[in-house]
């Protein structure tokens, strides 16, 4: 498309005009996002890309490749050259959850972990007139009424559903999962009373908690979340090991130069902790959490293993 061509042309020209003292990066970096434009991952990545452009002194072209819960973008990206000019901004689900339910061509080894950026918990919320309010009572109510309540989630076998099912399995709870296309659609059906429980990201439901229309008994992080007063973290419920988070990271294709990885990880660390980015994250209920290189690889692997256990139990 002409617009994009001009845009890339201009930025390429700008990159060429830059002095040649730094070897990397000396041209436009392409950042693949495995989700459509306008969603949470997209917005976070685009905002971060602005800061990275400044710090790296090069431009970043964004390519949205949605579909398949992120697996389409991940499969396409794994074939990129590991020269540092192809990066992948994703949330954890395409790497740790999707492979549990889909027969995907990639594995964790197909990527070079660079750095995680931010994280947030999922939450389960009910309408203000729901009989119970606290996290412990909420789980007891669900346990006492097997099959009575429906909860909306982001998609079958998605991280949100697995996050909820990990808790439910530990407590022997049977709730009916209703998969929707995303947190917005879940919210619509929750507000309209079509499902009893909202399951999804905090930022989407937050305005309705503030207005008193909804209350959230539980978050899926071990610790409490300051933005959601009254919601129990899992540690308080004795389920600290069932923590499941939504988090975001930047990766490269397999076999990247370790020096480039380290340099990028440090720049990402700086950008994520830039006050403007921290403030932006706060509006979405997210906090910065930078885990770099091999430590990030280990985090991905342990989450992958934990979720494999749940999805096996669910028969997915």
């Amino acid at each position: 498309m002409t617009l994009k061509a001009t845009f890339i042309g201009l930025t390429a020209a700008a990159a060429m005009a830059a002095p040649a003292f730094a070897e990397y990066p000396d041209r436009t970096i392409e950042l693949t996002i495995p989700a459509g434009a306008g969603g949470g991952t997209d917005t976070s990545a685009r905002k971060l890309a602005l800061l990275l452009e400044e710090k790296l002194g090069t431009s970043i072209a964004i390519l949205n490749v949605g579909g398949g819960g992120g697996s389409v973008g991940a499969s396409q990206f794994m074939q990129a050259k590991p020269d540092g000019y192809a990066l992948f901004a994703t949330w954890n689900s395409p790497l740790t959850t999707v492979p549990q339910v889909q027969d995907v061509a990639y594995s964790l080894d197909s990527f070079t972990p660079i750095a995680s950026t931010s994280e947030t918990a999922y939450t389960l919320c009910v309408k203000a007139d729901f009989p119970v309010t606290t996290g412990a009572d909420f789980l007891a109510e669900l346990e006492a009424n097997p099959g009575k309540y429906t909860y909306g989630n982001d998609g079958i076998g998605g991280t949100m559903q697995l996050a909820a099912e990990r808790i439910f399995q530990a407590k022997g709870i049977d709730a009916v999962a209703i998969p929707f296309g995303g947190a917005g659609e879940t919210l619509q059906n929750f507000l309209g009373g079509h499902v009893d429980i909202y399951g999804g990201s905090i930022s989407t439901v937050l305005p309705y908690v503030e207005s008193g229309e909804a209350k959230c008994p539980i978050v899926t992080s071990a610790a409490d979340v300051p933005a959601l007063e009254g919601a129990s973290g899992l540690e308080a419920l004795g389920l600290a090991d069932k923590e499941t988070l939504l988090w975001r990271a930047i990766l490269g294709p397999k076999d990247m130069d370790p020096a480039v990885v380290e340099m990028l990880a440090n720049v990402i660390d700086e950008a994520v902790n830039d006050p403007s980015y921290v403030e932006f994250l706060a509006t979405k209920g997210e906090v910065p959490n930078v885990v770099k290189g091999d430590a990030l690889g280990a985090r991905l692997q342990s989450e992958y293993d934990a979720l494999a256990e749940v999805s096996k139990a669910l028969g997915l």
Binding site: A37, G38, R46, G67, T150, L187, G192, E210, F280
Partner: protein
């Protein structure tokens, strides 16, 4: 009222105003070029605006969105190639009008209808936004199922002379719609191990192939080496007959209402709005058989309907924080980047910005009156003069570029080519193409909704018709199917009585 006068003073300053004019023009071009679409343009432009005044950024969104919905009508009328999915219905009567030398008139009607639809929609957004947003919450999976079925029932009515072929075309669309990951079970269907099929076939890719390639091939068949001289270009103004414009008013009112109604429902879109408006106009007409043969009412209904969807689709996004389509999601993401939290508090949190954006949706609709007509007839209509040997490759290149940048992968070009040959073949054997696209859009919506509804009701089918809104929708669907039959029977009986 103060809310809007205050916002208006901000909107009418230099930055937003130039952005609106520029973006509306740009939008018309984007809409007019097959393959390029507003979603792509807005997704590309929006990040560039993160550091700008948000009202300027939103002015650009409003301009591109409204401009492109009209722009799609230009190639639909002139070449029978819909510029966007929402302008398929415009080809039905727009192209026959152009074919008999009324291109200029058809473009005028499209321009006015787009502007009127956009204005009506913006007014609905400004006056009833939060209230209408609450209404959308009553629509659960069962209701969405009926909306999809209602849409499909309308297909049955519009297939023309040969219903069997129409239904076969719709089934083809339904089948294409099943490709990809099933959202309710997580299973991949009909992907044959191909990763690129997991997301299903992209609507725009199929649309460009199916709809743009056959007319291009037909142009190529003509082997036209010379093109038209200025005098041969049949743009002569066919004057409006007395009362003809007044006759369009009921169509505009109906189409605006339908467009707004479809627009406020998250997940439905301009293409459905245009089809339903077209269909309603046909059903209301005294002479339904004149539709599809160049009836100005058809152009008016389709174009008014697809623009009326625009501002209305922002209602659930702005008032509830629930984006109904990608453009609304992009607007929400722009607001978040500027530090605003979408949701019920947005109107109080930043009235200048929200009010301003609504004013911009209104003003850019008005701008279509001024800019649309001139651009369409003075610039785009001249393309018709290009000799076929130039026009054919030009359109082909535009199509390929447009399709490639959607996902940045070459395989989509092959999908487009395959869809194009399928479309060419289907046209040769007189299959209507519109039901294919509608099947692709509505099939997944119907399937997912009914399965969700049954999950919620624990498998109880009666809940599909016992909820108040779903019962009404079911009844209306039956009516849409039966009404044309009743009319037909009555018409046949009349001559018999004489």
């Amino acid at each position: 009222m103060e809310f809007y006068t205050n916002a208006l003073s901000h909107v009418l300053s230099f930055g937003p105003l130039t952005a609106m004019i520029g973006a509306t023009l740009l939008g018309v071009f984007i809409g007019a070029l097959p393959g390029l679409n507003p979603v792509m343009a807005i997704a590309l432009l929006l990040p560039l605006t993160y550091s700008m005044d948000p009202l300027v950024a939103l002015a650009m969104v409003a301009g591109i969105y409204n401009g492109s919905m009209y722009g799609g009508a230009i190639p639909a009328i002139l070449l029978r190639i819909p510029g966007t999915p929402a302008s398929i219905a415009t080809t039905f009567d727009g192209f026959p009008m152009a074919d008999r030398g009324e291109a200029s008139k058809a473009l005028k009607i499209a321009c006015w209808s787009s502007a009127i639809g956009g204005i009506a929609s913006a007014i609905a957004l400004m006056t009833m936004g939060p209230m209408l947003a609450r209404v959308t919450l009553f629509f659960g999976p069962a209701e969405y199922f009926w909306i999809a079925i209602f849409g499909m029932a309308s297909v049955a009515v519009m297939v023309g002379s040969d219903p069997v072929k129409g239904i076969m075309a719709a089934v083809l669309g339904l089948l294409i719609g099943t490709i990809g990951i099933d959202n309710l079970s997580g299973q991949a269907r009909f992907t044959f191990g191909q990763t690129w099929l997991l997301g299903g076939l992209d609507l725009i890719v199929v649309l460009v192939g199916l709809y743009a390639l056959p007319p291009v091939l037909q142009l190529a068949e003509k082997c036209d080496l010379k093109g038209l001289s200025a005098a041969q270009l049949k743009l002569a103004d066919v004057p409006f007959k007395k009362g003809e414009i007044r006759g369009l008013i009921p169509t505009w009112l109906r189409a605006s209402g339908i467009g707004i109604g479809v627009g406020i429902l998250p997940g439905a879109g301009g293409n459905i709005a245009a089809f339903l408006s077209y269909n309603a106009a046909k059903n209301a007409s005294d002479d339904p058989s004149s539709f599809g043969k160049g009836n100005p009412q058809g152009v008016a209904a389709a174009e008014c309907g697809n623009n009326a969807d625009n501002a209305a689709s922002m209602i659930p996004a702005l008032a509830l924080g629930i984006p109904g389509n990608v453009v609304a999601a992009l607007v929400l993401s722009a607001l978040t980047i500027h530090g605003l939290q979408p949701g019920p508090q947005l109107f109080h949190q930043n009235p200048t910005l929200v009010g301003g954006f609504m004013m911009e949706m209104l003003i850019t609709s008005v701008l279509i009156f001024a800019l649309g007509g001139a651009v369409a007839t003075r610039v785009f209509a001249q393309f018709q003069r290009l000799p076929g040997v130039l026009l054919v490759p030009t359109i082909l290149i535009l199509m390929c570029v447009g399709v490639y940048v959607i996902n940045g992968r070459a395989i989509d070009l092959w999908v487009m080519l395959a869809a194009g040959f399928a479309g060419y073949f289907l046209e040769k054997v007189n299959f209507p193409l519109a039901p294919v696209i509608l099947g692709m859009i509505l099939g997944p919506m119907a399937e997912q909704s009914v399965r969700r509804a049954l999950l919620i009701s624990r498998g109880d089918m009666t809940e599909l018709v016992t909820r108040p809104i779903s019962a009404v929708l079911a009844a209306v669907t039956v009516l849409v199917i039966v009404w044309p039959l009743v009319k037909m029977v009555r018409r046949r009986r009349k001559p018999a009585e004489q």
